[in-house]
Symmetry: C2
Subunit: 337 residues, 2 copies
């Protein structure tokens, strides 16, 4: 599936930046592909790119309208359909990462056929995913894991991949979620795969490669999460990572949205991933900790990171502030490259 850039990002009347993470992610990581945003009058967000109507976009040669939000339950709001139909009629492709499928809507399908617009539902896994074989593959793999959802796995993987690229290391970002797939232009939406095939999907996503090549794999969920642990374990076992980075929000105490569950400590998170990761890769190692320290003052931040460095003997960074160079430096020592 190849996406036609540049993009017009639809964020409609969204008010919560958390739900517009697809739009924000594209602007952050692929600014050069973003022509503008389409906002309704009641929208309280701003991606910091030009406001465009569908007609403006069509006149400027925009290739695709991207659904820029992840709404609860993955439903497309009614008033969005008007914009989507307008874009279809103007021949723009529609890129959609929600659970709701554009292809299930016969009216849109008919109009897309007339105009030549492509309806790209990216939350549809390939149909030929095998059961995971557990067989060793050539090349190296790095997985981002976490103490909870939404605490930096995608950001850290993209940041590590950029850091490696700048250092001349042969690496590929491997997307496992809708936003990651839009950013990289490919990937497998691992949470939409049928349960029996989770580790097989991870194997398919990170096939045999050159010995010095690194796949940098976007993690999903958390092994400690009462809703998503199965996805996380399947992804861990199928990825067979040589290295992993633990992502953690420094001030979060409970699982977000599951407040009756305490967050594990970073140490517990490292230990469990080593224990379970060893099932398919006996040499798995933690190579760093990526922290969201936005809830801490600068003083608190320094003492927090220093204490964690001492406790784990690992590089501890906030990738937004520190970048990921310290982690790469540590990896070069551990893996001798």
């Amino acid at each position: 599936m190849k996406f036609n850039a540049p993009y017009l990002i639809l964020i409609g009347g969204e008010k919560d930046p958390t739900y517009a993470k697809t739009g924000y992610g594209l602007v952050q990581w692929r600014r050069e592909l973003v022509a503008g945003q389409l906002r309704f009058p009641d929208c309280e967000l701003d991606l910091g790119v030009p406001d465009l109507s569908v007609i403006d976009a069509a006149n400027q040669g925009v290739g695709s309208l991207v659904i820029g939000t992840a709404t609860i339950g993955g439903i497309i709001p009614d008033d969005w359909w008007t914009v989507i139909i307008e874009a279809v009629d103007h021949g723009l492709d529609i890129i959609n990462g929600l659970h709701t499928k554009l292809k299930d809507n016969p009216k849109i399908n008919d109009r897309a056929k007339s105009s030549g617009s492509r309806l790209l539902d990216i939350r549809v896994p390939p149909s030929n995913i095998p059961v995971g074989s557990g067989k060793e593959r050539s090349g190296q793999r790095l997985l981002t894991v976490a103490t909870d959802c939404a605490c930096g796995k995608k950001y850290t993987a993209l940041s590590m991949n950029d850091t490696m690229g700048r250092a001349g290391i042969n690496s590929t970002f491997r997307a496992t979620g809708q936003t990651g797939i839009m950013i990289s232009g490919e990937g497998i939406p691992i949470d939409a795969v049928t349960a029996d095939f989770i580790s097989g999907a991870a194997e398919m996503l990170t096939p045999d490669n050159e010995p010095n090549h690194w796949d940098v794999i976007e993690g999903q969920g958390s092994l400690f999460h009462p809703g998503y642990s199965g996805v996380s374990l399947g992804l861990l076992n199928g990825s067979q990572p040589d290295a992993f980075i633990v992502c953690h929000d420094a001030t979060r105490m409970v699982i977000s949205g599951w407040e009756h569950y305490s967050l594990p400590s970073v140490k517990e998170c490292i230990d469990l991933h080593i224990q379970l990761g060893r099932i398919t890769n006996p040499d798995i190692a933690c190579v760093g900790i990526s922290l969201n320290t936005s809830g801490l003052s600068m003083d608190e931040r320094d003492s927090y990171l220093n204490a964690l460095r001492k406790d784990t003997s690992l590089p501890c960074v906030d990738p937004l502030i520190d970048g990921c160079d310290d982690i790469l430096l540590h990896m070069k020592k551990v893996f001798s490259f």
Copy 2:
């Protein structure tokens, strides 16, 4: 979904009893619902029930033709379609647990509409499964787990449920696989659920119940399995079992079909389930070990079971030989009922 009994079981030209486990399971656990079997001339198996043609079955008032095998990849062989169409034309329901869906075949659909036959694809999870909440539920739950696939999880759960029923304990068998669903008449095919919803499916399958009621849940896969660990962890976390039984084949040394993986020991299997089960139920306990000892001589069997009893301080039974009474006795002490 209510199934119309009695059943005619189609095993076609199958030669391997392992692949006819649906047929054997129905005869073993629901003999009173089975009118007969339909075998092709080259079939080398015998379920021990009368051979019937579709016409015989229709004349005898048989309600459903059951696909009695689980073929590799879940495909329905070409020569089976002839029999299925004949059964549809005679108004029999078709009960199908394979990945191939009868409803995807337009020809069969048209003929079923004419005859009033129902096409029951049971490997289709309900569409309204929520993400797992991790919330505590009333009632008690027992889950069968294992060191590998196909080493007695379904049999042990059914046997425990029967043992509890005979002892006057309020219990329900909860099916998670195609054969279990056919035997019990309901359930959720957990391996066919979308990855994000595995633990939610387990929660839906075992809802709030009376304080002294036991759900006896059929396990799937194994936490140690490179292909299916994600399904097993989601089922464990969503079931929130108070008690679990470890199933193990006494003479198996490697994971069946994944021979490059050693089997974990029973002790390792107990420990990991306690460790990960505690995430959603801090009081989880192992209450017994269910063994397939068919590969051992009687002498070997006795010394094997005695050594394992000593090692684990738990009841160790081969349910086919010993039944599950010892495990129930132990549970009564542990849970004071």
